[in-house]
């Protein structure tokens, strides 16, 4: 078991700059064996947490992307029908064929089944759980409490190892209280200037400390404007990469480039129109 500081350090090595609270949450995940539910605006790096966690534990990341209509056959397991049919055709007349085609050889593992059958506990990322239907959420709850799966033709499959489960939600639907209570909760906010600058330095090659700080301050200013789509950390990194690629050393030296590359940050026509030259220069003026 790792302490909070070790966790923060480990995450930093994998390129994720965590605040103290997130490090606490991750140490609690280990201690209490509970899943971690991450909520927050789009683009604040919820999915990245799971990736960094996999890196921290030096284990595999298994990802289940949720969507409307996601069902057991694409989340848990499915029989390989084509293969079963071929086997039937090939062994026509043999009696034992039924035992054969319902064996593990003909079973297709989907993410949830895969996650509980690994010898070392993987990180299971259930992404955007709010996009899945209520029914799936209920089913997931059952799996997360028992960690076993029953397949009618094959029997019950128990977990070989209990995965580290991370769930993310964007709040497009209200999640059930039962699921919320089962999980540890962490709200991922936009990073503050200092942390965002450190994120830029960790993720963008060639970004100097002073430029990173300028970019972070500028982005903070942009976020305060009344935009429809507030730029996330991913957008910040894109922009930083663009500026570094265009050989910008200091934002004040290249106001033209700043204005032209703002498209990395704002992604709708409406927001683009709102960030006029005057507005962006005013924000830039405040950046020391």
């Amino acid at each position: 078991m790792k302490s909070r500081d070790e966790i923060a350090k480990g995450l930093a090595i994998s390129g994720y700059i965590a605040d103290n609270e997130l490090a606490t949450a991750i140490s609690l995940m280990q201690l209490l064996k509970r899943p971690l539910l991450l909520e927050g605006e789009a683009g604040v790096g919820k999915t990245e947490v799971a990736k960094a966690l996999a890196h921290l534990h030096a284990t595999e990341l298994i990802r289940l992307q949720c969507y409307e209509g996601l069902d057991q056959s694409s989340a848990l397991y499915e029989w390989n029908y084509q293969r079963q049919l071929l086997a039937i055709q090939a062994h026509r007349g043999t009696d034992s064929i039924e035992d054969q085609i319902f064996s593990e050889k003909y079973l297709l593992e989907r993410p949830l089944l895969a996650a509980i059958r690994r010898p070392t506990p993987p990180v299971l990322l259930i992404d955007e759980i709010d996009r899945a239907d209520d029914e799936f959420e209920a089913f997931l709850l059952e799996l997360l409490s028992d960690f076993q799966v029953s397949i009618p033709e094959l029997g019950t499959i128990r977990a070989i190892s209990i995965p580290h489960v991370v769930l993310t939600s964007n709040g497009t639907r209200e999640l059930s209280d039962a699921l919320r209570r089962r999980c540890l909760y962490h709200y991922v906010d936009f990073p503050d200037v200092d942390r965002e600058a450190r994120i830029i330095m960790a993720r963008v090659n060639g970004a100097s400390a002073s430029l990173s700080l300028q970019i972070a301050r500028m982005v903070e200013g942009v976020r305060k404007e009344e935009l429809r789509k507030v730029p996330g950390v991913a957008e910040t990194l894109d922009w930083a990469a663009a500026l570094v690629g265009l050989d910008v050393r200091d934002l004040h030296d290249a106001p033209e480039t700043v204005q032209e590359t703002l498209m990395c940050l704002v992604k709708t026509q409406e927001d683009r129109a709102r960030l006029t030259r005057e507005v962006s220069m005013r924000i830039l003026g405040k950046v020391a």
């Binding site: 606490t24 609690l28 201690l31 056959s73 209570r181």
Partner: protein, 400 residues
């Protein structure tokens, strides 16, 4: 390390730890009073955390409990204040109670529930029309002294209901109407489900016993999203004669309606679905009247809609949603903002129904600036000042 193994028996604890455990239990009670949903397992895990040495550093302990006990953003935001108030004795407790508007008021402590009953009593007097409306109300009442009192009631303007009995009757009628509408709406929704496309994978699976010859076909049924109703009710002073009946009507529609949400607004917006889910209508209304009692000032419809669009729309609206706005359209804020926010809202949902009680009055024309700005985006603009006009909405809603 398992969570259960770490928690020692109560008897084995020394005096200090026992005191701390009792204090922890009291803290859990405080949190529950503040609307946190905390089960027994969470309490046990908290004890395990204390045993694991988390309690020795207050900052760490607070952060750990925050993750464990919060279940949503509103909990997350309030937790630090509650923790500090309880454990460190800072005087922020009352403030954070008041700050957590919707949530805190929806799950009030015993004391605030009692206050709520009083508030409910006050709001009941609100429904009695005052001033120049009152004489009219009396004359209307005179006409109704007939045998078929209930039928007549259907056509009487809500604001002309003066006697408590009549109001109660109108409430009953509104509730039963809502119930009937809800049942019919859901039933039709079920009957409409039909599959068109062929599900190849399942067809092959089903026909393995025929050696793969597709005899029994499996069709893919497109899952119909159930109709979702989102009600935004104006609870400002100018609407006070109608608020009571509408709250009862909304309570009826929302009760057991799986996909519905309700908001009340005057100068700000409050999410009231939780209070509305209360089975007992009277208690639900009591809880609500706390929220519905506005500052008594104007109505900021545009601003309230902006809050709705920003904070709630993504969660509560989908393509088969109907937004029902009940308001007289007397906007005291910026009418242009209302127009813009209505346009935003129209993009997000299937239909916008605007119910305006004033429309039923003779000689009323939509002159208010607010309603003029909003009307281009409204799909149905209807009067809703009598039970009959409420019932007339049903055929429209079924077509959604």
């Amino acid at each position: 390390m398992s969570c259960c193994g770490a928690s020692p028996d109560f008897e084995e604890l020394d005096a200090v730890s026992r005191l701390v455990a009792q204090k922890l239990a009291a803290f859990l009670r405080t949190l529950r009073d503040n609307g946190f949903r905390i089960g027994i397992a969470e309490g046990r895990d908290a004890a395990a955390l204390m045993a694991a040495g988390y309690a020795e550093r207050p900052g760490l302990f607070r952060s750990a409990l925050k993750h464990l006990f919060s279940a949503r953003k509103s909990d997350w935001d309030r937790f630090d204040g509650l923790f500090d108030a309880f454990w460190l004795g800072k005087r922020v407790r009352s403030r954070s109670l008041a700050k957590g508007t919707a949530k805190a008021a929806n799950n009030p402590s015993l004391k605030s529930l009692q206050d709520g009953t009083q508030a409910g009593g006050q709001s009941a007097t609100d429904q009695v029309p005052s001033g120049d409306d009152a004489p009219e109300g009396r004359s209307g009442e005179g006409r109704m002294e007939g045998a078929s009192r209930a039928d007549n009631l259907a056509e009487v303007d809500f604001r002309k209901l003066a006697e408590p009995e009549q109001i109660a009757q109108a409430h009953e009628a509104a509730a039963s109407l809502a119930k009937a509408m809800r049942t019919r709406l859901t039933r039709r929704d079920l009957a409409r489900r039909r599959g068109h496309r062929l599900d190849l994978r399942r067809t092959i699976h089903r026909n393995i016993s025929h050696g793969g010859v597709p005899i029994a076909l499996v069709k893919r049924k497109r899952k119909d999203k159930p109709l979702r109703l989102v009600v935004l009710l104006d609870a400002s002073g100018s609407m006070s004669a109608y608020t009571g009946v509408f709250l009862r009507f909304i309570h009826g529609v929302l009760d057991e309606f799986r996909e519905a949400d309700a908001f009340v607004f005057h100068t700000r917006l409050a999410h009231v679905s939780d209070a509305m889910k209360e089975k007992d209508a009277a208690r639900a209304l009591d809880r609500l009247s706390l929220l519905a009692q506005g500052a008594g000032g104007g109505t900021k419809i545009g601003e309230s809609l902006q809050t709705f669009n920003r904070a709630h729309a993504a969660r509560v609206l989908h393509s088969r949603s109907c937004v029902m706005i009940v308001s007289d359209g007397y906007e005291t804020g910026d009418a242009a903002l209302l127009g813009r926010e209505m346009a935003q809202l129209a993009k997000r949902c299937r239909r916008i129904v605007w119910l305006n009680p004033m429309m039923g009055w003779q000689g009323y024309a939509p002159e208010a600036k607010g309603i003029k700005a909003a009307l281009p985006h409204v799909d149905l603009y209807a009067p809703a000042n009598t039970l009959k006009s409420l019932a007339a909405l049903e055929p429209y809603l079924t077509r959604l």
